[in-house]
Every structure is written in structure tokens, then in C-alpha cells.
């Protein structure tokens, strides 16, 4: 029989599937043919390899290795099982252990257990080892084991004999205790490659163990742990309490940061909401602005004069709720009032500058005209947002813009559509900036800060409105000689602080710094100690303002400008915030600083002769 004829029979020869006649032929051929013999061995090894694979079913044979790979493994597995039966008949029994968790198996002395899943090894002395999947454990004696890799939990039964666990050059000696040993292989890459070293980690649950290597030893008690490097250097691990103690301050810091973060997040949400509201309003305004333009397309309006007043307002779109607030104002009358004031301004300004009394006739006319403006104030009081007492509502850009519009229309120079749109846009921007500013304020924001912010926002808004004016319109509503002068320019936002800003003359005899001390101690009520603490802030305040002081004679002390008010108020708000940081939060002085609306506008006092 040739090799070619015989080869297909070899597999069946191995599984005893041949007819007796074929089997005879194969048995006769093999001694003559090393090639077919090798082929037979190759088939045998394939079957051994299959037997060493883990089954797909739940039943999982224990893989016991001795030396090489799966070829050697299967040979050994067969030998060990049989060997154990003989061992049972012998007098001198070597150590053996029972392995449970997969298929129940015995682990003989010198054998290696490679756990493919969680396994429990029970030693004859009653000690127990639980290993996790991937652990490699060798039984070295009745109370001696080696953990080559992986994690093992040891519960040692006390019987007077020492119990020894070897792990990569280290030893754990115990009498009776429970502990955990982990041999962690260190690889170049976490997923592949050969191990280049191993760390041994021991943690004691109960009792005492001695963890030793060639380089040293550590006695470990319950709750303690240590690790050994490949080189055998043993390091104690921090206990839970030690870790907790170390973490405590970090934990506290985390809490503080978290609270801060939450606060900022809430602020961000509020701001985002406000921006969204503003955008929605702006979109609505754009739509509203487009509508009349489209309507006007077929027949262009012959005049650019604004259409007849709707609800009494020329400038609208600052926000519906605010427009509603202004419905009751008689704008025609208000416009007349403004128009009546302007012709007298030059005479009034001249009298003030010269320190002379104003002509009683002029004074009477101004009073009558001013009454018409006061009517506005009476109508809008409390209906528009402001931080100021007095002219807060009156100086709102919506009021000023409408008053100006009426004044201009009265003088035959009304706003055209484009100007009205521009004014409205400025108003919308003011409203958005106002909302953003309010969202930024906290409990420690002084009222003066809010007031000055309002002043700045109104200044910026009205500057934009002013930029829209034609030269002819400027002639009507701007009194150039005294624009933005306190108590004189009715269109200036400086009117806002008419009740809040306190002019203060300073001189070499009465320097600013000394004035600030008096303000802080007498008006705000700072104690002597508080005053000392506040001193750096007061110094800074004086340092900023001193070089910028405007010279003025006594009669012009109150005629400071919008720019001076902003400058002085900002410096004071800065100082107030600094001082609040050094004051006890619940002190009366702190409360006063937070709630006052009064601020100082210092000017350098000069004699009439100097001027």
C-alpha cells in the first residue's frame, strides 16, 4: 500500500474508525515509513491541541501546565490524574490541594494552576486561597505556595506551622491571618509584549504578616499594605485613614471651588437668558422697522418728517413695558417746555459764571417751562429702572430721546425715519448693556457703583444719539457753551446725579486726602481702626483724582461736568469696594457704604482773582 493510499486513513486510525483490514494495512506500513509516522503524530498533536482549548460550553477543564505549551499540557493532565490515584495508595503523601470554581480538580505539589476564571484552592490544613482569573499559582508544599502572577486572597488557618507565599523573589510569612497578594506584571505596552518586571502588592485584612525580600522586610498589620518592586524594594502603602487625612484639605478646596463654579454657572445662565431676550427683542424690532418701509415702497413719502405720533411717542421700541409706562405723558407739552428753556440758557449761564443773581423775569419763565418737564417726571416716576434718586427716570434715554424728538419737531427739524431707527437702536443697546450690568452686581456692590455705571451707560447712549443730529438740529438742542454742565443741560445724563453728586472744593489748606478722611469717618462712620485699614484705598482714591481736578471759583463749584462726575464717581466706587473688603461685613459703616447714593465731586477751589 502506497503512502498516497494510506494517508487518508491515518485520522481514522487514530479514532479507531477503520475496518480491521485497513487497520492491519496501516499498522504494517507505519514501521516502514517515517513520513506517514510523522503525519500520524501531527494528527495526534492536533487532537491534543483541541483538547487543550477551552470549551465553548460551561464545563471548563482546569488547565494544568508542566513546562511547555498545550502539547505538554495535555500529556501532563492525563498523567497527573492517574498519578493522584497512585499517590493515594502511598504512605508519604506529597502536598495536594483541591481546586474548585471550574471543574473540581486536584492540584499536586509542584503543579501549576493557571486560573481561567475565579478559583478557590483549599489546602489540607484548611487554609484557602481565592485567585482571580489570570492568576498563576504553584503549590510548593503543605503550607507553601508561589503566586507567579495575578491576584490571590489568602485566608490562612492557624495550626502552629508557618504559612509561606512566595511572589517574585519576595516572601509573605504568616501564622494565621487573611491577606491579599497581587503580582502585577509591568509591560512596555499595556496590551502586548513580554513583562519586563513585576510589582508585588500585599494587603493585610486580619492578623500580622511579614513581607520580606532580599532587600528588606516590613511587618504588616490589619489594614496595612506594602508593595515590592522587581528589585525587591519594599514600600509601605498609605492606609485608608492616612489617605483620607491627606485628601481632607483637597476635599474642602474642591467644595469651595465647586460652590464658586456653581455660582459662576448660575450667573452665566442668567446672562445667556438676558442676551437671548435681547436678541429676540432686536429681531422683533428689525421686523417692525422693515414693515413700514415695505409699505412705503410703491409711493415714496413726500416728506421725511416722522409720522403722526402714535401713543404720544416718537421714539419707540425700547421695550413694550416701558412704552406702556410712558403713554400718559403729554409729550407735546413736554416738548414745549424744553423749547422754552433753551432761549434763556445763555443768560443764565452768564449770570452763574459771574456769580450774579438770575434776572427774576427769566427765572419765572424758566420755572414755568421747567414745570412742563416736571410733569414728565411725575408720570414716569418708578416706572423705569434706575439706581438714582431724583432724575433717574427722567434721564432714561427713552425719555430724553422723546423729549428731544418733540423739541426738534416743535422747531421744524424733526427726526427722519433713519434717525428714529438709529435712536431706537441706541436705546436697544442701552437696554441690553443695562441688563448685563445688573446681572454682574452682587451683595457687595455699592449703590454708588451702580449709579455711576448707569451714568456711564446713559452718557454712551446719548453720545450716539447726538452723533445722529444734523447741524441744524444741534443748534436747537445743544447749548454748546455749557453742554453736559450740571444743573444746566437738560439733555445731559449728568442730570441723573443732580441729587447725588456733592461738589467739594479742595485747596492746599483743605487737601483732598484730608477731605476723604473726614468723609470716611464722619459720613460713613469708620472707626479709627477701620480708617487705618482703609487708608491705602483712600490714598489711591486721592492719588487718582488729584492730578485731574478741574479748577473752579467758588460760584462755579456746582457746575461740574458729566466727565467730572463720571471720573469722581468711578474713583469713589473703586475706593468703596476696596474699603468694604477690609471692613467687618455686618458693621454699620459697611452698610452705609453699600447703600449711600451720595458721591463727592471734588474741584480745585481758586479765588475769583486767580480765575
Amino acid at each position: 500500500m502506497s503512502c498516497e493510499e494510506l494517508r487518508p486513513l491515518l485520522a481514522s486510525f487514530l479514532t479507531e474508525a477503520l475496518e480491521p483490514e485497513q487497520q492491519e494495512q496501516v499498522e504494517a506500513h507505519l514501521p516502514e515509513c517515517p513520513a506517514c509516522s510523522e503525519e500520524l503524530v501531527a494528527l495526534l498533536e492536533l487532537s491534543e491541541g483541541l483538547a487543550a482549548l477551552e470549551p465553548a460550553s460551561a464545563v471548563e477543564p482546569l488547565r494544568v501546565l508542566r513546562g511547555g505549551g498545550w502539547i505538554a499540557a495535555i500529556l501532563s493532565a492525563a498523567a497527573i490524574l492517574l498519578g493522584l490515584l497512585w499517590i493515594g495508595e502511598r504512605q508519604a503523601r506529597p502536598a495536594e490541594a483541591l481546586v474548585t470554581g471550574g471543574t473540581v480538580q486536584r492540584l499536586a505539589e509542584g503543579e501549576v494552576l493557571v486560573a481561567t476564571g475565579p478559583r478557590t484552592i483549599v489546602l489540607p490544613c484548611g487554609s484557602e486561597v481565592k485567585v482571580e482569573a489570570g492568576a498563576r499559582l504553584r503549590l510548593l508544599g503543605r503550607r507553601e505556595l508561589a503566586l507567579d502572577t495575578g491576584v490571590g486572597w489568602f485566608r490562612v488557618a492557624k495550626n502552629g506551622e508557618p504559612f509561606l507565599v512566595r511572589a517574585r523573589g519576595t516572601r509573605v510569612r504568616v501564622l494565621g491571618t487573611s491577606f491579599r497578594v497581587e503580582v502585577k506584571e509591568i509591560k512596555m505596552s499595556p496590551k502586548q509584549g513580554a513583562a519586563i518586571g513585576a510589582a508585588v502588592i500585599v494587603a493585610v485584612v486580619t492578623g500580622v504578616v511579614l513581607f520580606e525580600s532580599e532587600r528588606g522586610s516590613e511587618e504588616l498589620r490589619a489594614g496595612q499594605g506594602a508593595s515590592a518592586t522587581t528589585a525587591g524594594v519594599i514600600t509601605r502603602l498609605a492606609t485608608e485613614d492616612e489617605v483620607a487625612a491627606r485628601l481632607a484639605p483637597l476635599e474642602r478646596e474642591r467644595e469651595v471651588l465647586k460652590a464658586e463654579n456653581d455660582k459662576l454657572r448660575a450667573e452665566q445662565v442668567a446672562l445667556t437668558k438676558r442676551v437671548a431676550e435681547f436678541e429676540a427683542r432686536l429681531a422683533a424690532r428689525v421686523e417692525a422697522a422693515k414693515a413700514p418701509l415695505r409699505k412705503a415702497d410703491p409711493a415714496p413719502a413726500p416728506s421725511k418728517v416722522a409720522p403722526a405720533k402714535a401713543e404720544g411717542l416718537r421714539v419707540r421700541s425700547f421695550g413694550v413695558e416701558q412704552q406702556d409706562a410712558l403713554k400718559t405723558v403729554n409729550w407735546t407739552r413736554a416738548g414745549e417746555g424744553a423749547a422754552e428753556i433753551f432761549p434763556h440758557l445763555a443768560a443764565v449761564w452768564a449770570s452763574i459764571q459771574e456769580g450774579k443773581p438770575i434776572d427774576p423775569a427769566v427765572q419765572k419763565k424758566l420755572y414755568m417751562a421747567n414745570q412742563k418737564l416736571v410733569e414728565i417726571i411725575l408720570e414716569v416716576q418708578g416706572k423705569l429702572p434706575t439706581h438714582a434718586k431724583g432724575n433717574g427716570e427722567f434721564t432714561h434715554p427713552l425719555i430724553i430721546a422723546n423729549l428731544m424728538a418733540e423739541h426738534l419737531a416743535n422747531a421744524g427739524q424733526p427726526f427722519d425715519e433713519a434717525q428714529l431707527a438709529g435712536v431706537s437702536r441706541s436705546g436697544e443697546q442701552y437696554q441690553a448693556a443695562w441688563d448685563l450690568a445688573q446681572a454682574r452686581y452682587g451683595e457687595q456692590t455699592p449703590l454708588v457703583r451702580r449709579l455711576i455705571d448707569e451714568l456711564i451707560l446713559k452718557r454712551d447712549c446719548m453720545a450716539k444719539v447726538e452723533a445722529l443730529l444734523t447741524p441744524a438740529q444741534r443748534e436747537i438742542v445743544i447749548f454748546k457753551e455749557a453742554q453736559h454742565v450740571n444743573q444746566l443741560d437738560i439733555y445731559s445724563p449728568v442730570m441723573l446725579v443732580i441729587m447725588n453728586a456733592k461738589p467739594q472744593g479742595v485747596s492746599d489748606e483743605r487737601p483732598l486726602r484730608a477731605r476723604l478722611d473726614i468723609l470716611a469717618s464722619r459720613t460713613w462712620g469708620l472707626s479709627e481702626a477701620d480708617l487705618a485699614a482703609a487708608s491705602p484705598a483712600l490714598d489711591a482714591w486721592a492719588r487718582i483724582l488729584n492730578p485731574q481736578l478741574v479748577e473752579a471759583p467758588r460760584q462755579l463749584m456746582g457746575s461740574f461736568t458729566l466727565a467730572e462726575a463720571v471720573r469722581s464717581g468711578s474713583a469713589q466706587a473703586d475706593a468703596m469696594e476696596e474699603i468694604l473688603r477690609v471692613l467687618p461685613a455686618d458693621s454699620e459703616a459697611a452698610k452705609t457704604i453699600l447703600t449711600t447714593t451720595k458721591f463727592m465731586v471734588p474741584r480745585k477751589l481758586v479765588s475769583k482773582d486767580d480765575k
Binding site: P8, L10, A11, S12, F13, L14, T15, E16, A17, Q23, V26, E27, L30, P31, E32, P34, A35, S37, E38, E39, L40, V41, A42, L43, L44, E45, L46, S47, G49, L50, A51, A52, L53, E54, P55, A56, S57, V59, P61, G67, G68, G69, W70, I71, L75, A78, A79, L81, L82, G83, W86
Partner: protein, 165 residues
């Protein structure tokens, strides 16, 4: 060198006249002389008894492998035997170490390429360690068919591995 372990009388008697003699002859032929042939055959029989296997084919294969192993240890292995010897030596070459690492993975992959019902027969017999009788019962066939199926499965697997196995 070979340990004489107690072997049950029944097996000893059954095998002595027929199979045992043939295995000794086979070993002697492979070894190129009677020296050691007895030991090799004895080791194979012992291994069969321990593994609970009575297949002559299995015994022939193990006998041949042990004979080649012995030849190699004695430094008498022929070139033809050298290839096989490397697979069973206790000091494997670098090449076979690398091969062994991939053995299980490769085997599992190639097993998937074996056709049915032979693949299931292989699984039941070797991975699940069932006897041929149990394999037959699981597959609802006579035992002889089960043995055939396992054989054909092994042959297919051998083909899949080609000459490299």
C-alpha cells in the same frame, strides 16, 4: 530510566501478545535497534492507560513520538526525525516557542473553517472531552459514525494547517 509502574493485569494481558509486540517492533524500527524499544513501548502503554485511551492509532503515534524524542536525546536523530523531535523536546527552539504561543489562537480560528457536522464532532470529543459514545448520542448517530466524523474533522483540520502543522 523508564519507571516501571504497576499496570492493571487485564490490560497487560490483553495487549501483551498483539499490540504491545507491534509497538515494540515499531519503536525498534524507529530507533534503529532494540535498545530502548521496550521502554518506549512501555511508556506509551502507560500513557494510554493513564489517559484512558485504548486506540491503537493513538498508541502508535505516541510510541513514534517518544522514540524520536529518545533518539534526539541520544543525539542519534536523523534529519527526517529532527523536525518532529523539535516539537516534543523539553528545550524548544525559539521558533517553536513563538509557534506555540499562537497555537491555541490559530487552532481555534482554523477549527471554525472545518465543515459540519465534523466541526461539532471535534468540539464534543476534544473540547468538551466526551467519549465517542457520548458524541454519538449527542449527534444521534452510531458510535462508528461519530468516530468517522471526528477522523474526517481532524483530516480537514490537518489540511487547513497544511505542511506547517
Amino acid at each position: 530510566m523508564a519507571r516501571r509502574e504497576p499496570v492493571s493485569q487485564e490490560i497487560e494481558l490483553e495487549l501483551e501478545n498483539t499490540l504491545r509486540a507491534r509497538l515494540v517492533a515499531y519503536a525498534a524500527r524507529t530507533l534503529g535497534g532494540h535498545s530502548g524499544a521496550e521502554d518506549v513501548a512501555q511508556e506509551a502503554l502507560l500513557a494510554a492507560q493513564r489517559a484512558g485511551i485504548q486506540s491503537p492509532g493513538w498508541l502508535y503515534a505516541v510510541t513514534y513520538r517518544r522514540a524520536v524524542d529518545r533518539l534526539r536525546r541520544d543525539g542519534r536523530a536523523s534529519v527526517a526525525h529532527e523536525q518532529l523531535a523539535r516539537k516534543v523536546t523539553s528545550e524548544p527552539s525559539a521558533e517553536s516557542v513563538a509557534t506555540r504561543r499562537d497555537d491555541a489562537r490559530q487552532l481555534r480560528e482554523r477549527l471554525e473553517d472545518v465543515g459540519e457536522p465534523f466541526r461539532t464532532a471535534l468540539r464534543l470529543r476534544y473540547l468538551d472531552s466526551l467519549s465517542f459514545a457520548d458524541v454519538a448520542q449527542r449527534q444521534g448517530t452510531p458510535e462508528r459514525t461519530a468516530r468517522s466524523r471526528v477522523a474526517r474533522g481532524l483530516a480537514q483540520l490537518r489540511e487547513l494547517f497544511g505542511a506547517s502543522a
